[in-house]
């Protein structure tokens, strides 16, 4: 049987040991879950396996033979394929060009044979049941979810010996996640070693035969999945027990805060009506790409929309993010790297960039002391260590970056907070913190609109959930009936056996 064996792997960046002798054994024919908080070393381990990063010490063998690492080409030649969390596709090229990148059919003179390329791409997509994706479209115009699916197709172009799914499902709807995991299963059945890195415990539980937990650069637990319950796994990840992931709420929603009627974005989304109450966490559910992004962007003033809205007793225009923020409506956008953060800037500057007028003296100069105080206070609220305020935000882990984006939005003191999948790719400890924060804000009367691709989050964090399909609201799950199944039922048009997909 095929066996991937990692032993004594070490890696330091400067004075910090990221891996301290990690070991891992994963068998062919199985899906092997890899759990750990952000910063536990999962990503570094995967980068070493895929040849992007070089290890300081340790060995990796596949079927008893040492694996040459340190260069992506070497790993690829050894049959290691990785689907990364951050997309590695080229947005300016077409779907076909991306799929066959580096393996384009060429004619005698070395030029690419366009028709052949497209035919091959179509065949490839058909093999994976994705005929619906047009091979001629520029990749950048596809939804994030579809782009992630194409990453998987690219990785599975040839049958791999080792397949690494590095948070490949974190951006995906339940349906697409199930598809990706199904592909992982197929690769395993063909004999591959499949490593599944995810923040979703349920995914490991449902799909992985074995699981290894990393913490602080060490492997702290390696068991068959069936032999450990969720509490044990979480405890291993955190080094302690989490009482509950989803906090209890104090208050209950009060009077209407934001009333929207006939909202449309282009001709794809709307018209739709919704009312958000004070102190309410209003969930937006549905399969991915059903207009949720457009809805949140419109409410935040980031895309043009038509219709009317009232915020408390005044008309709400929402014509630009600037005006929306001034009116008290703040958006936490979907993509923290491209929409949320100035990556090269210090954490503190990122926190305050959305509220500059608050720190500006009449002459136009910034009151540095007040800004620093506010940034520090905000960092405390969202749980970012103060000694990080001066570091570039790009040096933070994904979870901490997300906290900075949240902190930036909160510093603007919103009465309506729009959260777009704000726990994507975030570890379980940070998730719990974010949910607690959401509950606190709601208890203070802030109205929160929360879109999430994670059903259990919607079911457990929200007061009620509106479900979207094809740009419209197709139903509401009221607070007494909230469950993952109820949301999914509406999302997929009530096909009962799809509910299993949600697990």
């Amino acid at each position: 049987m095929r066996l991937l064996k990692v032993a004594g792997l070490r890696k330091s960046y400067g004075a910090v040991d990221v891996l301290r002798g990690v070991g891992l054994e994963a068998r062919g024919g199985e899906i092997h879950g890899l759990l750990g908080e952000n910063g536990a070393g999962k990503s570094t381990l995967m980068k070493i396996l895929s040849g992007v990063t070089r290890a300081d010490a340790g060995s990796v063998t596949l079927d008893g033979e040492p694996l040459t690492l340190g260069r992506p080409t070497a790993s690829t030649a050894a049959g290691v394929r990785t689907v990364f969390q951050e997309l590695s596709t080229l947005p300016q090229l077409t779907v076909a060009e991306n799929l066959l990148y580096g393996a384009e059919p060429t004619a005698l003179l070395g030029h690419v044979r366009g028709r052949r390329l497209r035919d091959q791409a179509r065949e490839l997509l058909a093999r994976f049941g994705l005929e619906r994706i047009d091979v001629d479209r520029r990749l950048g115009t596809l939804a994030l979810g579809d782009r992630q699916l194409l990453e998987v197709v690219k990785a599975l172009r040839e049958t791999p010996r080792v397949l690494i799914l590095d948070e490949a499902t974190s951006a995906l709807s339940a349906e697409d996640s199930a598809w990706v995991l199904g592909q992982g299963r197929r690769a395993a059945e063909a004999g591959a070693v499949v490593l599944l890195i995810t923040h979703r415990l349920a995914e490991v539980r449902a799909h992985a035969e074995r699981v290894t937990v990393l913490r602080g650069g060490d492997d702290v637990l390696a068991v068959p999945t069936a032999e450990a319950d969720d509490d044990e796994l979480i405890a291993a990840m955190l080094g302690r027990r989490v009482e509950r992931l989803y906090p209890r709420r104090g208050g209950a929603p009060a009077g209407p805060l934001l009333r929207v009627s006939d909202l449309s974005v282009g001709d794809r989304v709307g018209p739709l009506d919704l009312t958000l109450h004070e102190g309410e966490v209003l969930g937006i559910g549905g399969l991915q790409g059903q207009g949720q992004r457009e809805l949140l962007m419109a409410l935040g003033g980031a895309v043009p929309w038509s219709g009317s809205a009232r915020l408390r007793d005044a008309p709400y225009a929402g014509t630009s993010p600037k005006r929306a923020i001034a009116d008290g409506v703040t958006l936490v956008p979907e993509d923290r790297q491209r929409e949320g953060l100035l990556l090269a800037d210090p954490v503190a500057r990122n926190l305050t960039v959305g509220s500059l007028p608050r720190f500006t003296r009449p002459g136009g100069l910034i009151d540095a002391a007040r800004e620093a105080t506010a940034a520090a206070a905000q960092a405390t609220q969202v749980g970012v260590a103060h000694d990080r305020l001066g570091s570039p935000v790009s040096a933070l882990s994904g979870g901490n970056q997300q906290k900075v984006v949240l902190g930036k939005a909160l510093l603007a003191d919103p009465s309506v907070l729009l959260l777009h999948d704000c726990t994507r790719g975030v570890d379980v400890g940070t998730k719990a913190e974010i949910f607690t924060l959401i509950a606190e804000l709601a208890d203070r009367g802030v109205g929160i609109v929360l879109y999430s691709s994670d059903l259990s989050e919607l079911a457990n964090v929200c007061d009620r959930v509106l479900v979207m399909a094809e740009g419209r609201l197709v139903g509401e799950v009221p607070s007494g009936e909230l469950s993952e199944e109820a949301i999914l039922r509406l999302a997929v048009g009530s096909v009962p056996d799809r509910a299993e997909v949600a697990a």
Binding site: N38, P333, E339, L342, R349, T373, A412
Partner: protein, 340 residues
């Protein structure tokens, strides 16, 4: 208390000043007169032309754009001034008006880039062409292709106040003001934010179009003013007077350590870049090179300066960063305080 501002002195700025100093020392060793008061004053005047031409360029580049209309706005500054002054307008008023109209031409650039979404290189080239056409239509150049300049501009460019020429003082004051604008003001933050990531800036509530517009307007005004003092120094003005400053204004910005893609850099860096370019072009003729050799050395030294301030600074910074800020600890302590 946490330091919010970027470090007060940037490594790239230091390396640009250092390169300038090295060149200056080499020139002085070769010809001792190079360090004389008169020559230094002369150099400062020349450098101020580059400094003003590159002032707006700095703001535009920081905000993620580029202004190729600078040489034509300089020509406009001189020729329009001459036109109005010969028409009887008082010199001071004419200078103010020329700078104002320069700003308005900059606004045209800004509208094209910010609202019509025309790529900056195309938009500013086109506007430069239009300005050129307008200047040709004025038709007031004399038989030698030149037009005279009013006394106010001449004295601004050649009179002294204390040890330094007036333009050098003006440049110093403006540099301090622009330095403050960039490092301490909300407007400066917005310029950097727009240059670093336009979409993040927009979603953070920054009016991206207004920031762009303001940067191009300031660029237009600064270039027109550069044209005024240049014409005042030369004593007359002509259509191609600004031509050397297209390259110089961009090179000064980049030698000064700014990212040509925006979001990163300072005006003090540009000041160092302007001084470096000026010292370099003044010293090279001392070495009796052929025309071709002179151009080669000029180009190579500028490339060296760009490399120093871009990669050299980065390299040093990386070493320093490694020494002072450690990367994210593998198990961040703040996470463990969570469980609600």
């Amino acid at each position: 208390m946490t330091r919010l501002r970027a470090p007060r002195i940037h490594l790239s700025t230091v390396s640009a000043f250092a390169l300038c100093a090295v060149l200056f020392v080499i020139a002085t060793l070769h010809a001792s007169g190079f360090a004389s008061g008169d020559n230094v004053r002369q150099l400062l005047v020349f450098a101020s032309f580059v400094g003003f031409a590159a002032l707006g360029q700095t703001l535009v580049v920081l905000s993620g754009g580029m202004d190729l209309s600078v040489p034509w706005l300089m020509a406009f500054g001189g020729i329009q001034l001459s036109h109005w002054a010969t028409g009887g307008m008082p010199g001071g008023a004419a200078i103010a008006l020329v700078v104002l109209v320069g700003a308005l031409i900059g606004v045209v650039n800004g509208v094209g880039v910010a609202f019509l979404r025309i790529p900056p290189i195309i938009m500013t080239l086109a506007v430069g062409g239009l300005v050129q056409a307008y200047l040709l239509s004025l038709g007031l150049l004399d038989s030698s292709g030149k037009s005279p300049v009013p006394a106010a501009a001449v004295s601004a460019a050649s009179d002294r106040l204390g040890p330094l020429p007036i333009v050098a003082w003006v440049w110093l004051v403006v540099a301090v003001a622009v330095g403050l604008l960039l490092s301490r003001s909300a407007a400066g933050r917005r310029i950097y934010a727009v240059g670093a990531n336009e979409e993040v800036a927009r979603l953070s509530g920054i009016d991206v179009a207004r920031v762009r517009l303001a940067a191009y307007a300031l660029s237009g005004a600064a270039a027109a003013f550069a044209g005024v003092i240049l014409a005042g120094y030369v004593g007359n003005t002509y259509l191609d007077i600004g031509q050397p400053y297209l390259f110089a204004s961009i090179a000064a910005v980049v030698v000064g350590g700014a990212s040509i893609l925006g979001g990163h850099g300072t005006y003090w860096g540009t000041v160092a870049g302007a001084l470096t370019l000026t010292v370099l072009s003044a010293m090279l003729p001392l070495f009796h090179l052929s025309d071709a050799g002179l151009k080669v050395v000029y180009g190579v030294v500028i490339l060296l300066g760009v490399w120093l301030s871009q990669s050299g600074g980065e390299l040093l910074a990386r070493v320093r960063r490694r020494a002072t800020i450690s990367p994210e600890p593998p198990h961040s302590p703040e996470v463990t305080t969570s469980a609600p």
